[in-house]
């Protein structure tokens, strides 16, 4: 018989009932940065196609990418790239069944966040100062 109305049994709890932890946060951010990088590849393809098309189109891309808004997007892309990369390296560690205990999990999660921010700032520092 088809059920009508709400289930009369306890339903499994969803995300909002748990206290947010750094490991949860980094898991979510890994997926978000992955999706961002998916669409971010368009930035690369557009630049390459513009360069292949000639001087005028490349100058246009340079102007847009070099603007404040363009730089902000590229800064975000840089961070997403490094964050997803370090998150991936964390997954390589877990693939060997290592680093799954509570303390190491938390350390790896923080290392991913701090490392990605550090690499992003370092890359932009080299670009702006070099």
């Amino acid at each position: 018989m088809a059920r009508t109305g709400p289930a009369e049994r306890p339903l499994s709890p969803h995300l909002q009932i748990y206290k947010m932890t750094i490991t949860m946060m980094m898991s979510i951010v890994h997926r978000i940065t992955g999706a961002a990088l998916f669409f971010g590849t368009l930035l690369l393809v557009i630049a390459l196609l513009a360069l292949a098309s000639g001087k005028t189109s490349y100058a246009m891309v340079q102007a847009i990418y070099g603007s404040i808004f363009g730089k902000l997007v590229l800064f975000g892309y840089t961070w997403a790239l490094f964050h997803h990369m370090l998150g991936g390296i964390r997954h390589f560690v877990w693939d060997t069944a290592a680093g799954l205990d509570r303390e190491t999990r938390f350390k790896l999660a923080w290392a991913t966040l701090v490392g990605s921010l550090g690499l992003t700032v370092a890359a932009w520092f080299f670009y702006l100062m070099g």
């Binding site: 999706a35 390459l48 292949a52 790239l81 693939d95």
Partner: protein
């Protein structure tokens, strides 16, 4: 892995270990192989992009047109395109429950990844052969 006599899985199906989707660990393994390639290729990619950011049009043509840079860029984009297709497939399967929409989105996902890889390869080769 149900081994009791009530399982309707045949011994052969258990031995093959391909599961209901008939693909076994294929998706997982491809995502890891491309992930390793991506980590390695991210280093030259970031270096090339930083060089490009400092160059004018002629300089950029020279950088991308260099055989080593061209091959490394194409390798990175190919690996990234395969990797992102696998990742986006999981996102779609997790959140889109309507069968029709899901199939259409999975198709567009593949089209997008192939388009990204082909367009980049075309542009890079054209730049390389222009010099």
């Amino acid at each position: 892995m149900n081994n009791n006599s009530h399982s309707i899985r045949t011994p052969m199906s258990r031995v093959r270990g391909l599961g209901a989707a008939r693909s076994g660990t294929d998706h997982f393994w491809k995502s890891r192989v491309t992930a390793v390639a991506n980590v390695i290729l991210t280093v030259p990619f970031v270096v090339i992009v930083m060089m490009l950011a400092k160059a004018d049009y002629a300089g950029a043509m020279k950088i991308v047109g260099h055989p080593l840079a061209a091959i490394l860029l194409m390798a990175f984009i190919t690996s990234a395109a395969i990797h992102m297709r696998l990742g986006m497939q999981v996102i779609i399967e997790d959140y889109v429950h309507s069968e029709g929409t899901k199939i259409v989105l999975l198709m567009f996902n593949t089209f997008f990844a192939v388009a990204i890889a082909l367009a980049s390869a075309y542009a890079i080769l054209r730049i390389g052969f222009a010099g």
